[in-house]
């Protein structure tokens, strides 16, 4: 400060430098959380051992099994699921938003639920119903009751496709219906005024306006299907149907880490290519923000005599993808024989003591000490990750908005959204690559609870930043400044204005992260360890060993936890809305 040359006021200088400290710190944090693992996994495959792995995977006698077949299956799944989801989700969205179908609100709510049910739940339910005796073990409900289930319907690509479509179509539905509701009545009526008939209005106006939403729904469901682990693992692995994610899991599990890393990079590349292509497809005319609001009103087309039949179709679809799988899981966790799902119900699989005739003498899940530990681990994981994610998300969102336009802020928002492009199982592989070995004085974190928490928080960053932004968006600077003009000090403003405005949004975001963690399998499956088991992993282990009832019972437990959390979130949401009116 003691320069002879005149400088701008000292406080100005300090402000300048302190303005850069926070974003720099944030960039550092995001760098360690997101960039370092990805760099490390790339570097790990550039070592001599890594380069051999590249050769093995891409150009050797093994590459057919390691890369080409899994790639084929992955692509079939990705494209098939995405097409199926667009058709199904688009149809339901059209039905709910654009027509006068009865029970629109009910259908709208019900069709958002399938995405809440983890894909391994749907896969387990499928197995419970459609398993055949080819793999040994008990056969499923249908075969036990005399229906012959062909292999293609019991195992492999077809059931995986069906299960994934049933899971992801509700994501497509949510995106497409939001876009359709933004097509205001005025837009449609303006087209009607030209004398255009219904099909022409649909293809000329409605469809093009929602095209960006269709593309993003298609690419998100595709990315989801490509990186899904649970469904192909449960329904494909028994018949050696491999996808990139199951292959990568297998390689790391048997200790072929480099090959696993190579596959992880390839998986990232595959899903990246599709996301990039879809982005190019809609770029330039990206989001059609409908000009000037007042878009609340939508024009509903009369269905005439098709109203009730289409309602039945919509309701049937919702039941098949939500109520039926849950019911099957519940019934199966109570029935000793899968052939008789609804008789001889017993609580053995839940509470029974070990040593009896059923379940090879295994005790019920609530008597299994591993399970109790897993339950607490799961809750702990969900809570810690939720808390950490929201704190990080809020800090990042705040930094990005306050430093809007600077290079650091731009870099920050780009980096924070990077995990969105990385399939979670590949992200987990990257964390193994970085933290699998001791770094300097730091011990190896592999297999620790801490690693799982950090990886999960990092993978949730895009969502957390988004949630943080929307929370901050509710607190306009006007509100804070008007409080400031009353003479309230910073603490008082924080307590009386900012906290009440932010808390509900933060809680809602935290609960969503919590639910995501509780039902996650693909991140957990690589980072989980025997010392810190979580529920989804225990369920997966049971299922892999053929103890379907135990697996189903644990899945029901996961569903109950998720449902309870969702109800809390909904109650909060309702309160938020009440006060918005």
């Amino acid at each position: 400060m003691s320069h002879a040359t005149p400088v701008p006021s000292p406080s100005g200088r300090r402000l300048l430098s302190s303005r850069q400290i926070v974003p720099l710190l944030m960039v550092l944090i995001v760098g360690v959380l997101v960039v370092a693992p990805l760099l490390r996994i790339l570097l790990a495959t550039l070592t001599p051992a890594g380069l051999t792995a590249w050769g093995d995977v891409l150009a050797s006698a093994m590459s057919q099994n390691l890369w080409w077949r899994p790639l084929m299956n992955t692509l079939i799944l990705g494209i098939g699921v995405s097409a199926g989801c667009l058709l199904l989700g688009g149809f339901v969205a059209w039905l709910v938003v654009m027509t006068d179908v009865p029970g629109r609100r009910l259908l709208g709510v019900m069709h958002t639920l399938p995405f809440m049910i983890p894909s391994f739940a749907a896969a387990l339910a499928w197995g419970t119903l459609f398993r055949n005796s080819r793999m040994g073990g008990s056969s499923g409900f249908f075969e036990s009751n005399g229906f012959l289930i062909p292999d293609w319907l019991a195992w492999g690509i077809v059931p995986v496709l069906i299960v994934l479509i049933a899971h992801y179509y509700s994501l497509a539905f949510t995106i497409i219906s939001a876009a359709l509701s933004s097509v205001g009545a005025d837009l449609v009526e303006a087209a009607q005024m030209t004398g255009a008939r219904r099909p022409r209005i649909f293809f000329g106006i409605v469809l093009p306006v929602v095209t960006p939403a269709l593309v993003s729904a298609g690419s998100l469901t595709l990315a989801g299907a490509v990186s899904n682990f649970a469904a192909p693992a449960l329904l494909g692995l028994p018949v050696r149907m491999q996808t990139l994610s199951t292959r990568l899991f297998g390689m790391i599990e048997i200790g072929q880490a480099e090959r696993g890393f190579v596959l992880a990079l390839l998986l990232i590349a595959v899903s990246g290519v599709f996301l990039f292509l879809s982005d190019r497809l809609v770029s330039g005319r990206r989001a059609f923000v409908t000009v000037t609001g007042k878009g609340g009103r939508t024009r509903r087309f009369p269905l005439g005599r098709w109203r009730w039949p289409l309602f039945a179709v919509g309701l049937g679809l919702a039941l098949l993808t939500t109520v039926v799988p849950v019911l099957v899981l519940v019934a199966s966790s109570l029935a000793p024989q899968t052939g008789a799902l609804f008789s001889n119900w017993t609580l053995h699989f839940w509470l029974g003591e070990g040593g009896g005739q059923i379940a090879q003498g295994q005790a019920g899940i609530f008597r299994n000490s591993v399970l109790i530990e897993a339950l607490f681990n799961t809750l702990k994981l969900g809570l810690v990750v939720a808390l950490l994610s929201m704190v990080l998300g809020l800090a990042l969102a705040h930094t990005i908005t306050r430093h809007k336009g600077t290079i650091l802020a731009n870099a920050l928002s780009q980096l924070a959204f990077l995990p969105l492009l990385i399939p979670s199982i590949a992200f987990a592989a990257a964390y193994i690559a970085l933290f699998g070995a001791p770094i300097g004085p730091l011990p190896s974190l592999y297999g620790t609870f801490a690693l799982l928490v950090i990886a999960a928080a990092a993978h949730n960053l895009p969502f957390a930043v988004q949630a943080g932004r929307s929370v901050l968006g509710q607190i306009s600077t006007d509100l804070e400044e008007s409080a400031r003009l009353t003479g309230a000090g910073p603490l008082r403003r924080m307590w009386a204005i900012i906290f009440p405005l932010a808390i509900r949004g933060l809680l809602a975001g935290a609960i969503l992260v919590f639910v995501k963690m509780v039902r996650d399998l693909s991140l957990v499956v690589l980072l989980f360890s025997a010392t810190s088991p979580v529920l989804s992993m225990v369920a997966y282990r049971y299922a892999a060993e053929g103890f379907m009832q135990f697996a189903n019972a644990i899945t029901v437990l996961i569903l109950v936890i998720c449902l309870a959390a969702s109800l809390v979130a909904q109650a909060l949401q309702a309160r938020v809305q009440k006060w918005k009116d």
Partner: protein, 364 residues
């Protein structure tokens, strides 16, 4: 208006009724205007003017009654919509503009022409023509989200007039613009009306728009037409208290009076002979702002009021004062020497401009 030759009416509405469930938006409405008119429907929000416009456009069906364009019935309560928008040959400019966000400016104008089956050359020529008419030729390849509100407004108008509709409908088209643009677009719309010659129906709640643009004005309130006629006639001779106070800048003064003997008194001040009220015990006397003055003159009734504000207005001063819950406005030559809250004396003209019954109808 033109009732003698109903066949030639561009728009004829007879016995129109519209209900939404329990709610009656329009109980019973009849109107007609000759071709080339500029009809303005004006009234407060919720008065049914937009509902009427939507029925004219064919977007809603009337519950009862008929709408005929150029002698052809297009909607009727009995038969629903008889003519779809194509057959109506009408165009609607939306309050929200309703520009299709995925089409460029030129694309927005082109689409209705395509739907109407114009060939390529004719479309290109017409697009160039309307773009030039509205002065937006340079915007032709932009998307709606990339242009300003005023420009969007012009595109919306260009799109509507491109297929050369015989009837143009406007739903509060200027309400989303700022004051300066609004005045500009008002002139622009009148120019376009002259250029196209299309019969226009224009919905607004802004009485200045109504008075400056219309050839015919229908003042609406609670789904009824309070008064219909040329703007000058409405201003000069309001038929109801609603019209008298809704139109005119500044608003006129409506003083409740009570008969005492053979005089009419307002708060004890003798204003006029009871004969004016045609025997009624209570009535409203209507004085225009220019009939009220701050200069006290002999023989003119004087009302004491509390001064609230004075605003310069085209070289004169508009004074507002209150007495009880009543606001009084006066147009005077010089700024009064008073501060808000001061008592001032306002003198009224010797005889009121109009006399209304307590029910609102005009007596004299």
């Amino acid at each position: 208006m033109a009732q003698s030759q109903p066949e030639t009416d561009a728009i004829r509405i007879t016995g129109l009724r519209k209900t939404f469930g329990e709610f009656t938006a329009i109980p019973d409405l009849s109107l007609s205007v000759p071709p080339g008119s500029f009809l303005v429907l004006v009234g407060p929000s919720g008065c049914g003017k937009s509902t009427l416009l939507r029925m004219l456009a064919g977007l809603d069906d009337p519950t009862a009654g008929e709408i005929a364009f150029m002698g052809h019935t297009v909607s009727s309560g009995a038969g629903g919509t008889l003519a779809d928008p194509r057959q109506r040959n009408a165009g609607l400019v939306f309050q929200s503009y309703a520009l299709w966000p995925h089409m460029t400016v030129a694309g927005n104008i082109d689409w209705p022409l395509k739907v109407a089956g114009w060939d390529r050359a004719a479309r290109a020529a017409r697009i160039a023509e309307v773009l030039a008419l509205l002065g937006i030729t340079s915007l032709r390849d932009r998307y709606p989200a990339e242009i300003s509100g005023g420009q969007q407004q012009r595109v919306a108008i260009a799109r509507t007039i491109a297929p050369k509709p015989a009837i143009l409908l406007f739903d509060e088209p200027l309400s989303n613009l700022d004051a300066k643009l609004r005045i500009e677009m008002r002139a622009e719309l009148m120019r376009i009306h002259r250029a196209t010659g299309a019969t226009s129906v224009y919905v607004t709640h802004d009485q200045v728009e109504a008075m400056t643009m219309a050839t015919h004005v229908a003042v609406m309130n609670h789904g009824r037409v309070e008064q219909f006629g040329p703007p000058r006639a409405l201003l000069d001779r309001p038929a109801t208290t609603f019209v008298a106070t809704f139109l005119g800048t500044p608003p006129g003064n409506l003083l409740p009076v009570r008969r005492q003997g053979d005089r009419l008194l307002f708060e004890g001040v003798d204003l006029a002979p009871a004969a004016l009220a045609k025997g009624a015990d209570e009535a409203f006397l209507f004085y225009r702002a220019e009939q009220v003055s701050t200069a006290v003159a002999a023989g003119r009734p004087v009302v004491q009021a509390e001064f609230s504000e004075a605003a310069p207005m085209a070289g004169r001063v508009m004074v507002t004062a209150t007495t009880g819950s009543l606001r009084l406005s006066a147009i005077v030559e010089t700024h009064p020497e008073a501060r808000p809250g001061d008592r001032i004396a306002l003198s009224l003209a010797g005889s009121p401009d109009a006399v209304f019954a307590v029910t609102g109808e005009r007596i004299e």
